[in-house]
């Protein structure tokens, strides 16, 4: 099954999707329906965001809309127009599971979802609604409303320590972040010789998934076999990640089903929940507790900034003088800097938009790279601009949407009491009670992974 598709009946061959595809996976003649080369497609869903050719409602000459909904795995209650480029949805599976009393339903939500979901209910672009989102998830019937942000704090603990270890040993540098599954797939298929440079850390989604079915099962006194774990993501590649055979560290599929921000909106509408007027509710503890560092993961530069906040304090044992690390937040495709951490001059780069990483990878192959740490996100502004996010109706809204979502993320960070991952009290407790230490045996088993080449020899 391919996760991203083009409806052959609708596509007019305008090839605007091909302009945004970072790996040139969209093939076809101009003016003719396009096809996706699924071997190289990294499932970022930027084509889904771009396509503006919709299925006309009053045209009897095409496959009826309800059949198209079915083909696309969408709820039959969805009213919005359907476009030629689309991703296969999973909302039906979630609705089914929610109606099953035998299951213990758990959900986690990525940081970029809470700054965009409200748009689907007519609120302003980038409206920040973590409280309403948690409330909506509870009304949908989830037994526990947890948070990928907790997993993001955990990722920083592991990845921060991995960075320090590699820098100290001078081994396999630069270290590349591994939170973005589209970027990871790209490395596996295009640069397998550089896979040792990828962080072995799983993404926050998968760390959270593994913790939910182990530690979470324990504290909730639940048989992990009964836990149905859903994640809500801004990303159309995350279902692919959760389906990887190695993502079963808990002994079960760590994340059972992934839905996008847009699909969460479908479920909320399907149940007739009045999102805009929901009260603000909190996430369930302890696996819903998070810091500002975790929430900025949703924007380009966020993982880097979060990692620096923690790495600085672990290395120097002093509080970081300025917590807002502005220079990694810019909008350009590549940002580079040198950061002084004690005696260490850390050379870093932040890359958003997959095409922008190519020169860096080529330099590295030639042995010409002196970076220590590089964040890469496949989407143009990081996950706030992901393929599963609300799709803007007019191109002129795109810039504002991305800017507002980003501003909301940093505002959320600045308003949280704790803003450094290692200060998250429930993360500390997780290590004390269950994991032991970062990069330890249990962490290694649950939170780290291996990569394999997808290149044909």
């Amino acid at each position: 099954m391919s996760y991203i598709n083009i409806d052959q009946e609708l596509c007019t061959g305008c090839r605007r999707c091909a302009e945004v595809c970072p790996v040139d996976a969209i093939e076809g003649e101009e003016g003719k329906p396009q096809k996706i080369n699924t071997e190289i497609c990294i499932m970022c869903g930027q084509c889904v965001q771009k396509c503006s050719v919709y299925a006309p409602y009053f045209d009897d000459g095409i496959t009826p809309i309800n059949m198209k909904l079915q083909e696309r795995g969408m709820l039959e209650s969805v009213k919005e127009p359907l476009f030629a480029a689309y991703n296969i949805g999973q909302a039906k599976k979630v609705r089914e599971a929610l109606a099953n009393p035998q299951l213990f339903k758990v959900v986690q939500c990525a940081p970029a979802v809470r700054v965009a979901i409200a748009e689907e209910f007519g609120l302003n672009l980038g409206a920040l609604t973590p409280g309403k989102m948690a409330a909506a998830l509870r009304r949908l019937g989830f037994n526990k409303v947890y948070d990928t942000n907790f997993g993001a704090d955990l990722t920083i603990m592991e990845e921060g320590n991995e960075l320090i270890k590699r820098v100290t040993e001078g081994k396999d540098l630069p270290l590349f972040t591994s939170c973005c599954p589209a970027w990871v797939k790209f490395m596996e298929q295009a640069y397998p010789e550089l896979l040792k440079n990828l962080s072995t850390c799983k993404s926050p989604q998968q760390m959270q998934g593994a913790i939910i079915k182990t530690y979470g099962a324990k504290i909730n006194n639940m048989d992990p076999a009964k836990i149905f774990s859903v994640s809500v993501m801004p990303c159309t590649c995350k279902p692919f990640e959760s389906d990887r055979p190695e993502m079963m560290a808990s002994g079960y599929k760590d994340v059972d089903v992934v839905i996008t921000t847009r699909e969460l909106a479908y479920l909320i509408k399907d149940k007739g929940i009045d999102f805009a007027n929901l009260p603000d509710e909190g996430f369930d503890l302890p696996l819903g507790d998070y810091t500002g560092a975790a929430t900025i993961f949703g924007s380009t530069g966020g993982v880097m900034e979060a990692a620096l906040r923690t790495a600085y304090e672990i290395i120097t044992k002093n509080p970081i003088p300025k917590i807002d690390i502005e220079f990694v937040r810019g909008g350009e495709g590549v940002r580079t800097a040198t950061v002084q951490i004690g005696d260490l001059e850390l050379k870093i780069a932040v890359v958003a938009g997959l095409k922008n990483v190519l020169p860096i990878l080529e330099d590295l192959k030639k042995g010409k790279s002196d970076y220590h740490f590089i964040e890469v996100m496949a989407c143009p502004e990081g996950c706030i601009s992901g393929g599963g996010q609300p799709k803007v109706l007019l191109e002129e809204y795109r810039g504002i949407a991305y800017k507002n979502r980003k501003d909301a993320i940093y505002k959320h960070d600045s308003e949280l009491k704790l803003r450094k991952s290692h200060e998250n009290p429930d993360i500390k407790k997780l290590y004390d009670e269950f994991l032991g230490e970062p990069l330890g045996k249990q962490s290694h088993h649950l939170l780290h992974t291996k990569y394999k080449s997808r290149k044909e020899k």
Binding site: P81, E119, L393, L394
Partner: protein, 193 residues
């Protein structure tokens, strides 16, 4: 007497790539009353544009109202729902009775008759009922739709949305003067060698 000719939007077939951005934009700006906001998820009614992308073997091009000076649609409307307003020909969707006379009269096929939507719901007729699967139901109100040059927002949304600038607003009087000038200039150049 009004001397300025009506403006209209034309497309350049050589440029148009057939992306329908123009149709989506047209629909978006005309459906605030249906709670259509910035993202696709806010859309609960069918997309009804007022220009129509036409595909032929020679390429694609959107077709829309020319805002005719002696507008056949306005001339034939039995209830006077089509009027000259400013520099455009406008249909009053409130008074339109869906008789389709304008559709037949328009030489460009720029008018379509489709159900009316308000507050995100189909507008129903007061008295007329029709036989459906579940018995008699109230019949939806059908009205005429066509390009109004986005008179409410001041500039045609389709032009702004087209990623390849295939659409332009023609203001005929100015266009004619500009062409006169061009012709004169080239003539002068030819004569003066």
């Amino acid at each position: 007497m009004k001397t300025k000719l009506n403006s209209f939007v034309v497309a350049n077939a050589a440029k148009c790539i057939g992306c329908k951005s123009c149709e989506v934009a047209c629909f978006t700006v005309h459906n605030r009353n249906n709670h259509v906001a910035a993202t696709v998820g806010t859309v609960t009614v069918p997309i009804i544009p007022r220009l129509y992308l036409i595909r032929s073997e020679h390429g694609t091009i959107p077709i829309q109202c020319r805002h005719c000076e002696d507008a056949p649609c306005a001339n034939v409307c039995p209830v006077g729902a089509i009027k000259q307003e400013g520099n455009a020909i406008i249909i009053n969707e409130k008074t339109c009775i869906g008789c389709k006379t304008c559709l037949l009269a328009c030489p460009f096929g720029a008018i379509d008759l489709l159900p009316q939507y308000d507050d995100g719901k189909e507008v129903l007729q007061i008295n007329l009922k029709e036989e459906e699967e579940g018995g008699l139901t109230q019949k939806a109100r059908v009205i005429a739709y066509k390009c109004d040059l986005c008179e409410d927002i001041g500039e045609p949304a389709c032009i702004k949305a087209c990623p390849v600038n295939a659409l332009t607003l023609v203001t005929p009087t100015e266009e004619r003067k500009a062409r006169n000038k061009e012709a004169a200039l080239s003539l002068i150049k030819t004569i003066n060698g």
